[in-house]
Symmetry: C2
């Protein structure tokens, strides 16, 4: 069956395309009788207006984009729910694009967004991203951008984050307070400011407690596939830590499995704390102490700001900074 478009309607009614188009737009130039004929046929043939054409007229796509590194992390799925809760009340569609942690993908996605397909963009940058040009181009095209969670410092716009420095400090202090002397921090990126903030908090706590630099290990596991191997070799090294901070939730399973494999008991031999919104944290063996980010609220706040930017061109997004604190939930893994 061929697509029903204005031309099909025009052919069947022996009218011009322009007449059909005007009739569908309820133009005063067209008689009521003709309008009725056109509408009846359009309904009968299940005609659907082409949004590309009507977007050209309306200049609004009624769509926002959410650009994310991945959805396998619970943080992002919860954040999406927060975003969607706002978009629904505005009658907007939400399109989700995944960069898969690749800068090249993120760039292509934003080029696509730049060209009228969406009215605004919420972005959490990939772990590879360390320049801002591709994001600034969007803004130069009058498409408002709001960062959530992972921000890029070179772009002047609103950002909604959590208190990453304080959380790094809080995690380290908990480990110190539970008797750790050689805690390590496992990161997944050398460039994400968010992880750098957590690391800075971690270091500040250790410096304050006079832990020597040599006992302040930062380990970078940038490759998903070798994470288990890297964690295992850290735990087998001469510099074996007595406490671990997992900077993102996907590090948790490799850490637990490596400990099991090496007969390292959590929390007796190694205390573990993770930045995670893992649903299963309380039923792990042992239950996992987490720093839980307010993912839903971060998504909601970011979307609320973006819609202000979309609806009022005078609203200055550059002034907006929202920090929603995370929550420490102590469980057996740090007892």
């Amino acid at each position: 069956m061929s697509k029903v478009n204005i031309k099909v309607l025009a052919d069947q009614l022996q009218l011009s395309v322009s007449t059909i188009s005007k009739a569908l737009r309820d133009s005063y130039e067209i008689s009521d009788e003709t309008k009725k004929k056109v509408m009846e046929l359009a309904t009968r043939l299940n005609y659907i207006p082409n949004p590309y054409a009507s977007s050209l007229r309306r200049k609004k796509s009624k769509t926002i984009a959410v650009v994310l590194p991945e959805v396998a992390d619970n943080f992002f799925s919860l954040a999406i729910n927060g975003i969607q809760s706002v978009a629904e009340t505005k009658g907007y569609h939400v399109l989700i694009y995944l960069s898969h942690e690749k800068f090249a993908n993120e760039k292509t996605i934003l080029e696509d967004c730049a060209s009228g397909r969406v009215d605004g963009v919420l972005i959490s940058i990939s772990s590879e991203t360390n320049s801002a040009d591709h994001i600034n181009k969007l803004q130069a095209n009058n498409i408002p951008v709001v960062f959530f969670d992972r921000e890029q410092e070179g772009t002047e716009t609103a950002r909604v984050t959590t208190n990453d420095f304080d959380c790094g400090l809080m995690a380290a202090n908990l480990l110190l307070q539970k008797g750790c002397h050689k805690p390590a921090f496992i990161s997944v990126s050398e460039s994400l400011p968010l992880l750098q903030n957590r690391i800075n908090g971690f270091k500040a706590a250790l410096n304050k407690a006079s832990i020597p630099q040599t006992d302040q290990q930062i380990v970078y596991c940038t490759d998903n596939d070798s994470m288990y191997k890297q964690v295992k070799s850290l735990l087998q090294s001469g510099h074996r830590p007595d406490g671990l901070i997992a900077s993102v939730e996907k590090i948790v399973t490799p850490v637990y499995l490596a400990c099991h494999e090496l007969n390292i008991r959590i929390p007796h031999d190694l205390k573990v704390i993770a930045f995670a919104t893992l649903d299963t944290a309380p039923i792990l063996n042992p239950p996992l102490t987490t720093i839980t980010q307010p993912a839903f609220e971060i998504g909601k706040a970011a979307a609320t700001l973006l819609f202000k930017g979309i609806e009022k061109s005078t609203f200055d997004l550059r002034r907006e900074r929202v920090v929603i604190p995370s929550v420490l939930i102590e469980r057996e893994s740090t007892m």
Copy 2:
């Protein structure tokens, strides 16, 4: 800064909009000298062509939609990765739409997809969906549709699923073999054919083992918020099961927490098996026996079929049925 469009270029060069448009399309009607001037200014002002306008000419959006109930389930995030792995090789964008398990949302999303925004749709239906009209309308508009995981029986098109009946049978047989006499099945929807297939497999195994109907419990937990309460009251009832099959992974945490609360030991008092692709299954307390769906492969196979439908209008999607079997991984929860 205002958006750079063809009109801006035309004003600055004192040429007509139509001349600029033709120059950008490299039309033979325009002199090389003019073309050069236009291209230079377009590059300097960072002009980006409007994709809505160019899509109208090209008739291809180079975009596919993936319509899903949610992303919090690992199955769907892995399936998205499989889909994206194919779309990337085709140079296509992937837009992800979430129905949040609501039929009304799914309907609006498909109306949006029907109108030229995308070239094809991969869909896993919401748990509320029990009619096919909204999907059939898409096909009537010549937009190919492929089901993955959750299908709608009233639509004739390709579907990529796993062996749900066999898996229900396999899960029940494992519980029986481990000594259960009163196993229960927890479902989250009364209408999804996929869950009905799993239940049918479960019942077939129990009937074959001559388990009386009164000891074949099917429990429906359709509301996320009351799941914990419902599971707890099942475990406190006179009809307390000695084995549980969780039909989707979000049931796992409520089950483990309720058992902990009620001092029911897994696997001693209750054996548990779940349909899940949970990363943390091996580190739960106790490690969880799972029936693991080949999520990545299902996504990949569905996308491969969809692109055949998009690229060759003669390719008959209706004949295509792909079933990729799931894998039973035994762990301590059923020992």
